[in-house]
């Protein structure tokens, strides 16, 4: 569905001179720094996938999304989506995809939400029947009814995001690009958006590409993840594989029934203790959680225990900090 090969985008950042004369100089001088925003990116995305695209600020996420949505022309490399060249076949292409940029709205600021949506019906030439069917469905699943007649300028961020997502889906796009769809939202609103994204992906088979810096979005939604940093792909694959390959140590939390001064156990180290609760750290692959629990319960009396997987935040932070994937 999406095929990207050796894709690069380099920008010339011109040196700016201030003041009136500076402005004139800016028009005619050609001094610049070359910024390699995206550098030799290759990946493929299959129909129906829900892919997380993550990376720190300035890593090249937005630049990639802008190329995928046809806003930017690549400097070099190949990019083909549904057999089209996004930037060249702009009108034809954007009719088949939807995009939501978290910090902006596609809706008309002073219009009630419903009027914006009606206008989009005409913009995308959506047949009346499928427009009505989609709108009815999204009104329920996104709970739009309470603010359908409110001007967009008066919506809360969460409401606006729901309206924007609805707007991006009315024309049954085959691909949905979501750029930071949960940015600035509270926990409840985030959860609602996530559930909806998952539902759209499952029930409609829409391919979803999601950029975010909120890793819980990725953890809850995406089977596959791509990590980009400094314009290059650091990792591309299943989320589980990422954890297995680079994941830190797993944690076993044990509440002891008695007070043991030093409940040492072979195969794990004590990471901390708090009253009767001790946390052990152990490496995946070296010892199984069940084996470890067996060893502990053979020596001590246990009240309760819990296994914690390494947090994805930590995993990714380690990849960045230790540059584990640098060749």
């Amino acid at each position: 569905m999406i095929r990207v090969e050796n894709l690069s985008k380099h920008f010339k950042v011109f040196k700016h001179h201030r003041g009136a004369m500076g402005t004139l100089r800016n028009l005619f001088t050609r001094q610049y720094n070359l910024v390699q925003a995206v550098n030799g990116l290759s990946f493929e995305i299959q129909p129906g996938e829900l892919v997380g695209y993550i990376g720190p600020n300035g890593a090249g996420k937005s630049t990639t999304i802008k190329m995928l949505t046809g806003l930017l022309v690549p400097t070099s490399g190949e990019l083909s989506v549904m057999g089209l060249l996004p930037w060249r076949d702009r009108q034809k292409y954007v009719a088949r995809v939807g995009a939501v940029f978290g910090q902006r709205t596609t809706l008309w600021w002073d219009l009630p939400v419903i009027e914006s949506l009606n206008l989009l019906q005409h913009i995308y030439k959506i047949p009346a029947a499928s427009f009505k069917q989609n709108l009815d469905e999204f009104r329920t699943t996104l709970e739009l009814d309470p603010f359908l007649d409110t001007p967009v300028r008066a919506l809360s961020l969460g409401q606006r995001m729901r309206a924007d997502i609805c707007a991006a889906l009315l024309h049954d796009p085959e691909i949905l690009f979501l750029d930071e769809p949960t940015i600035g939202l509270d926990v409840v609103a985030k959860e609602r958006i996530r559930q909806f994204i998952q539902q759209v992906n499952r029930e409609r088979g829409t391919t979803v590409i999601l950029t975010t810096h909120d890793l819980s979005d990725v953890e809850k939604l995406c089977q596959r993840v791509m990590i980009i940093d400094r314009g290059k792909l650091l990792f591309e694959g299943q989320l589980d594989a990422l954890k297995a390959q680079f994941g830190g140590k797993r944690e076993l939390l044990v509440d002891f029934a008695e007070d043991y001064p030093s409940p040492q156990i072979e195969g794990a180290e004590i990471a901390g203790r708090e009253g009767g609760r001790v946390s052990y750290r152990f490496a995946r692959g070296e010892i199984a959680a069940s084996e470890l629990i067996g060893r502990i319960s053979a020596k001590y009396r246990i009240r309760d225990l819990e296994v914690r997987e390494p947090q994805i935040e930590e995993t990714i932070r380690r990849i960045y900090e230790e540059r584990l994937l640098e060749n």
């Binding site: 630049t63 802008k66 022309v73 954007v94 940029f101 002073d110 219009l111």
Partner: protein
């Protein structure tokens, strides 16, 4: 094409409804822009009180030129407001322009439909009123060709100013911080066109004859309508070149605009 026109009509409807939500502000701006147009004319009249003529032209003759330009610029400013360089530059920086590129509709139609400043009506009405009174100051006999040329003049000037706006908007793809440079084009063009061209130095006048054909948009039609002699002795059809001049500037602007969009797509912001 039909889809684009239909959509343009709808987008205009949106703009008008949006502006009507702020009635008080709309009314104030309506009156405000009208008053400004009135004061500008009054200051012109005051200059004539003192100097009596401008390069041999009377108040009525200059006012004819001046208010024709005022009226046309007002109409253009209303229709082409989406291309207003200062506004458009902001939209590029804020990413609003990207949102337009994400929709499957001709981009120029969308920009045109993204703004429609109805409040310019104030300026347009006052401009038209003063224009009518300027006509009364000129004792010329109106003939059908003259009326036709006056109409063509207004339409061509709208196209010309619209072209300048489009050129200005396109320049903001390169330089967002220098709206002043861009304004030299739009408001400079307006200034040139609203004064009798023979008062300017030859170099400047030739620039506005052969490079930017502004002289055919105002000065020559005015010579014909006001029955004034042509100091530069161009062929008799020169006044009728107005539509050609307006259209060619608009076409050149649209070509530049398309080039600018290609540049924007290769650089972003």
């Amino acid at each position: 094409m039909k889809h684009a026109l239909n959509l343009y009509r709808r987008l205009l409807g949106v703009q008008i409804r949006s502006q009507m939500q702020y009635r008080a502000s709309f009314a104030l701006e309506l009156v405000g822009t009208g008053l400004i147009a009135l004061f500008e004319y009054a200051s012109l009249a005051l200059v004539f009180e003192r100097f009596d003529n401008l390069g041999g032209w009377t108040l009525g003759q200059v006012a004819f030129l001046y208010d024709m330009a005022e009226f046309s610029f007002g109409i253009m400013d209303m229709i082409f407001a989406g291309f207003d360089p200062s506004l458009f530059g902001q939209n590029v920086r804020r990413g609003t322009f990207d949102q337009l590129l994400l929709r499957p509709v001709n981009i120029s139609v969308q920009v045109l439909g993204s703004e429609f400043t109805l409040r310019r009506i104030g300026k347009i009405i006052v401009g038209a009123g003063i224009f009518a009174s300027a006509l009364a100051l000129n004792p010329v006999a109106w003939t059908p060709p003259k009326a036709l040329l006056a109409t063509l003049m207004a339409v061509s000037q709208v196209a010309f100013f619209g072209g300048l706006f489009i050129i200005g908007a396109t320049i903001t793809f390169w330089t967002v911080e220098s709206i002043e440079v861009v304004n030299i084009f739009t408001y400079g063009g307006n200034y040139m066109i609203s004064h009798p061209m023979h008062i300017f130095p030859a170099g400047l006048r030739q620039f506005f004859t052969y490079i930017i054909p502004a002289i055919f948009l105002a000065y020559y039609p005015a010579l014909y309508i006001l029955e004034l002699p042509d100091p530069f002795r161009l062929p008799a059809f020169a006044p009728w070149l107005a539509p050609l001049a307006g259209l060619s500037v608009l076409m050149a602007a649209l070509a530049f605009w398309r080039f600018g969009i290609r540049y924007y797509q290769s650089t972003g912001t």
